[in-house]
Point group: D2
Chain length 318, copies 4
């Protein structure tokens, strides 16, 4: 139990917060090179984790940088009040990462596959995005208080036959944005997080990472501009649930004794045929995607256009 | 391990075949009042289970009647050849249950919620159904080789506020069909079955039974006409996966010893927040629904219109 | 030009307001048996037309009863402020027709075909409807300030093979509602009305009336309970546009002289192949349906649950 | 009547065949610089028009190059036999334009907006496209008989804020395809063509050209590789119907005399509010898009992979 391999399927999580908990749960100690800050807001909490050096990168299985996690358990119940509060928290955190002066161009990238419901978060956000970039040429007065915003939903490798990073890089070279905001559905380790947690990071993102087929990453290194990633867990990989069940049971029954090889074998036996693509998700996954994408879009819109009155923005995106 | 409670969430399956395996796995014996026959076809097997008396009903947790299970592992790979072969097997089995003379009216009922992808099988079949009933009045010559077929997708209680059985009963009293064919997404106990198994039964169906909120049943008793149910597993309840993992592990590690109370507690602990609605499903659930509904529609169409040339039917439904 | 045949395809409109204008345009006189009242609200006007006797029924081509038309040109621009104002106007007019005491059950019927975008208004409203009827049994306290509301989207004859009125009648006999509110996409005579006009009437509705294949009507006579119809024009029949163009041109060019036979022939020649199903609609028909259905749902919800605080309702339907 | 302005809204058509008919109808003469060939196939005809010089470009309002028009009136009735025959005709014509050696990479570009049904043809074809490019690296043996094919649906300016040509150019610079095949919904001048005509050209395409807001063109000049455009008419602009009705009427009533200024005024008066975006389309536009995109995809797939057995291809795309 001391040596948790966060790269194994059983421990897979896209959330830095969960990776930290898994590592600390195993070792019972603070993690060197990982610092953390926590605050609250009316409907939940905000945890800021910084992975500061290479050693911490390895232990955490995540690139160094800042990971902000907004947790709002009530987000699950489609309440406009909760949604607004979370969108405001997201907007504030995003603003802190963006440091916009107002003359920039932001490119929103909706990762994922709109033909696979649990993976449709990114394209759904793009559908709602308020784009303005094309108006600056012909209607500059109408958008003078706005940031220049554009958006694409590049699709997934299985649909396009092209690495998603290649498509985005091609568009970036034409559009020359100052920042990319990439949205993707995430895999969590804990079902409580489905539709209730938002992670914002400045480290970029590897599309499909939760699906066991890691693709070329979308980050400052590959894109040449800062990449802010925003994600919401929409699934827990089935192998993670299997492992969690076994550990919980072992803690109750056999005083915590487990047999890692048997755990691996068990998970393979039970989950074999669809391995990698089998996920745990609510039946109402369509609703979850709809609500999460609206909340994210609201938060992004507020952060990108701080000089536009709130009511005006609400009118344009609702 | 001897007393399996098939009504508990951990053992939930809509498939009689799996219920039989669970019971026999626990007892190691034939089940009194349950008889079985098995045959093969090019891409799989067909198992016919008959539950014959009240005692067997109780043990199996399913009403008495005939349950036909078509298993075709390759159905998962969208092959037209496999799909056609399975549709033919379905058509043949369905014909055996229907005993049509050609003058009857069949009502296809697509159960489930088209706004929740894993639950959208029934409405998707209705979308593809070849309806003819309305043509008998104004174009009788055009449909003289056809059976009179009509179809509804009544929705689910949470969307309509009306028990699904009430809606169907209301329509049945107007349309006066000779038989109802009800299609619904099922919950299996084994992930191998997702999208690869079709169950046909003459016992009717309880909508939402896999979701832990059993509704009024749709069967001969409530509808006044025979009800044939056709279903394909689209999910495995998360609790079932939890239990399966624990059992498999116990067989490897502790010689099969398990602690039922701890198992129950573990599953509750890990899966609590969404309990009942948390499911295991492939990420590509949209594709699974599309393929399964096309296969079922093909099988039903062939069974209902035996006098119409195959090519003509294919042209109308593809 | 004196004898306008409102039942001909060229003059087809589902709006009583337009029928009146067409008749008066032709005769230049008040119509006996038709009385009218007009008022305004911040974003438009409300016209109440009453058809009072059989003679007026014939001239107008509409059954006797009250037709309320809300006109709000700005509704076309997805503004939340306009949408709210129109929803309030709709709510008030609907309340006047409903006279609810609070103990009734209302059945919302979403007519039309969700697989044909211009015809999907009714099913789209049902998707958003706040249903409560099923909660009165198990959670009576939670809904004590609410009216009992249920909803169905019965489909169209071509998909179900069953007359829509039969399906609804079957459901009505089970649910025994006190009132039916039927929503349907309408055909107007003037493109200005697409997405900007709402008609409410207490006369019931004939599904598909704008499509030249009149179906059994859904009204007090066929249902046994009052039927309030709510509709928004989503299309103008192509033949109506053809006729309008010819008349406008004749007024400019030949001093208004027209040749009715040639007009008919011309329209047949140009529009033949799809006749009846060819419509004029905005390219952005998907948006029009989405906006109109949200506005209607808001208005209905406010009218049905007057004792529930506005914020609570907004939270539940947004 | 002698000087037809094909750039005016009333005469707008994306089809070279219709442009030729309009010009010849006005002048009654062959058009210099335009040559034509016609052949038939079981379910229709194929017309090949070549615009050969600058003068002909001007008269026709289309860039010089080859325009192949497949007309198949029965394509409207979803018959698999007709669909296959048309797909084969498309495949043959496309092969003639492509001259593939088998080592090339083809980029399929689905133009248009999947959120506006009449404009969703391109994205719908991409959804069905058999992409192979990503398999050449990791599974070269599996695809050795296949061409390297990739696909994108870049969206429209109003959704992305980026000129579509910019996005495609960015992707082209990364993927370096040998040819682009761009699919788009077209506007015709005659409603008979809706869903029954396919135009293939080697001249590229201007997205949104039928919508009165011409965008940067996608052609050899802007992309640096040959661009084959494939389109199916899904709409007729409302102004075109207006003009056609007036002309037809004038021919009947006033011996063909028309008043061009009054025609323009009439069309403006009747169609003003939505001008440019008002279209004539069948109510069943969703079906039209589905059928047309499947037919086009079949034709493209056969043309791109001539060495793969037909049954294998059918299995992969159906």
């Amino acid at each position: 139990m001391n040596n948790i391999d966060l790269s194994s399927e059983q421990y897979y999580t896209d959330l830095a917060l969960e990776a930290r908990d898994l590592v600390r749960g195993a070792t019972g100690q603070e993690i060197a090179g990982v610092i953390e800050d926590k605050q609250t807001f009316p409907y939940g909490s905000i945890t800021i984790i910084k992975i500061e050096d290479e050693a911490a990168e390895k232990v955490m299985g995540k690139p160094r940088g800042t990971y902000i996690t907004i947790e709002a358990p009530e987000l699950k119940y489609k309440s406009p009040e909760v949604q607004l509060s979370v969108a405001e928290a997201l907007s504030e955190q995003l603003s802190n990462l963006l440091h916009l002066k107002g003359q920039e161009t932001a490119l929103i990238v909706g990762l994922g596959n709109w033909q696979a419901t649990p993976d449709a978060l990114g394209p759904s956000v793009v559908k709602y995005t308020l784009v303005t970039r094309h108006l600056f040429k012909h209607m500059p007065d109408a958008v003078q208080s706005y940031l220049s915003v554009c958006a694409i939903a590049p699709g997934v490798l299985g649909i396009t036959g092209i690495e998603t990073a290649e498509i985005i890089r091609g568009v970036v070279e034409k559009v020359k944005p100052n920042v990319i905001i990439a949205i993707d559905a995430l895999a969590a380790a804990n079902i409580n997080r489905l539709g209730t947690t938002i992670q914002i990071s400045n480290t970029g993102i590897a599309p499909g990472s939760g699906v066991n087929n890691r693709r070329v990453e979308i980050n400052f290194h590959t894109m040449g501009v800062p990449v802010i990633a925003i994600g919401v867990p929409t699934v827990v990989n089935a192998a993670v649930i299997g492992r969690a069940v076994l550990e919980t049971y072992a803690n109750k029954f056999s005083g915590g004794r487990q047999h890692p090889v048997y755990i691996q074998e068990t998970i393979s036996d039970v989950l074999e045929p669809f391995q990698g693509s089998l996920v745990v998700t609510p039946r109402e996954i369509d609703d979850l995607i709809e609500n999460a994408s609206r909340t994210i879009n609201r938060g992004i819109t507020m952060a990108l256009h701080p000089r536009v009155p709130r009511e005006e923005l609400e009118a344009l995106i609702s």
